[in-house]
């Protein structure tokens, strides 16, 4: 019980702060809480398949397979796969981090994990269609064409910045995630 309380401390503090806000400014507070409740509903709709898929991936796909397709020396194949998996995903960016942890456990190359994160954040296929509808195809296509090299560039710069020890530590940490 004490452990649970400690883990959810941040959430409880923010929740109490928002209830106080509601007491001060009723309209703003209820609006904020209403939107939060809505997002929780959305989360419950989108998140379960993401986590079940990552559970299945963790159990069924052997490490050797993942290393072969997306690990060190996987080259263009690894980059394309990272892009494809990230773009086919659904849900907000923070859903991508637990998946990244499983990728680390399975020995996926760090730069490919970063490409996957980049793709999940901006080149999601359903979002692209939505963007075309809202802001026009010129805007959406131009942004997509700029984003693809951008994501790769960011992934490579970042994997150069990180030392081997730092990446190893991160991978070690991912092993202890469950």
């Amino acid at each position: 019980m004490k452990k649970i309380l400690k883990r959810y401390r941040g959430f409880l503090i923010v929740l109490i702060a928002m209830l106080l806000l509601t007491a001060i400014n009723y309209d703003l507070g209820t609006k904020a809480l209403g939107i939060s409740l809505n997002s929780i509903g959305e989360m419950l709709l989108i998140i379960p398949p993401v986590f079940i898929l990552l559970g299945l991936l963790d159990i069924w796909v052997p490490r050797e397979t993942m290393v072969r397709y997306m690990g060190e020396g996987s080259g263009l194949k690894g980059i394309l796969l990272a892009f494809f998996i990230g773009s086919a995903a659904a849900g907000p960016l923070y859903g991508a981090f637990p998946v990244a942890a499983v990728f680390m456990k399975k020995g996926v190359k760090f730069s490919n994990i970063l490409i996957f994160i980049g793709a999940w954040s901006t080149t999601k296929i359903p979002m692209f269609l939505f963007e075309m509808g809202s802001l026009g195809s010129r805007f959406a296509i131009a942004r997509l064409l700029i984003d693809i090299p951008g994501i790769i560039l960011i992934a490579y710069i970042l994997s150069k910045i990180m030392s081997r020890e730092e990446v190893e530590k991160m991978y070690e940490n991912a092993k202890n995630m469950d």
Partner: protein
């Protein structure tokens, strides 16, 4: 819509897994739950903050700040707003269209959308938990800088 496809795919794979090996399937579900519960406290904080943010901001307020006349100053402001806020895509794009209608410039909108999707100040605690401080801050800073390139190029292509 895409969530139906996702559910369908998950159901098919889960069924296949179940018929192949019940024990392994149970283990997979256990892992799924653990991975979810592990991050749930951070998720909840993010969701509350997003609710507050969306309650405070509306299209009128934002487009006043990042009008098409606002130039690079507007791009910087748009990037900052995009970095701090966390708005789901299906809200963000119609909102962006509304912002353009209300007088926001395409360059500024490009910076806003780009940082909105790639930079996450609110989600940083979640990201740090998996990637550590250095990689998280580095990724967010690079993505922030990249958004200016996106703004510049979009400004040249879309008029």
């Amino acid at each position: 819509m895409d969530s139906y496809i996702f559910y369908g795919l998950t159901a098919v794979l889960l069924t296949l897994s179940f018929f192949k090996d019940k024990k392994k399937t149970k283990m997979a579900l256990k892992k799924a739950w653990k991975a979810f519960e592990n991050i749930l406290p951070e998720f909840l904080v993010v969701i509350l903050l997003v609710g507050l943010m969306l309650a405070l901001l509306n299209a009128g307020t934002i487009s006043k700040i990042i009008g098409s006349e606002s130039g690079w100053f507007g791009v910087i402001l748009a990037s900052l707003i995009g970095s701090i806020t966390l708005i789901p895509g299906f809200v963000a794009f119609p909102m962006a269209a509304l912002l353009v209608e209300n007088g926001a410039g395409y360059m500024q909108i490009a910076a806003f959308i780009s940082t909105l999707m790639m930079v996450g100040i609110v989600t940083m605690p979640v990201e740090i938990k998996y990637f550590g401080k250095k990689a998280t801050i580095g990724r967010n800073m690079l993505a922030f800088a990249f958004s200016f390139i996106v703004a510049l190029l979009i400004g040249m292509v879309v008029i």
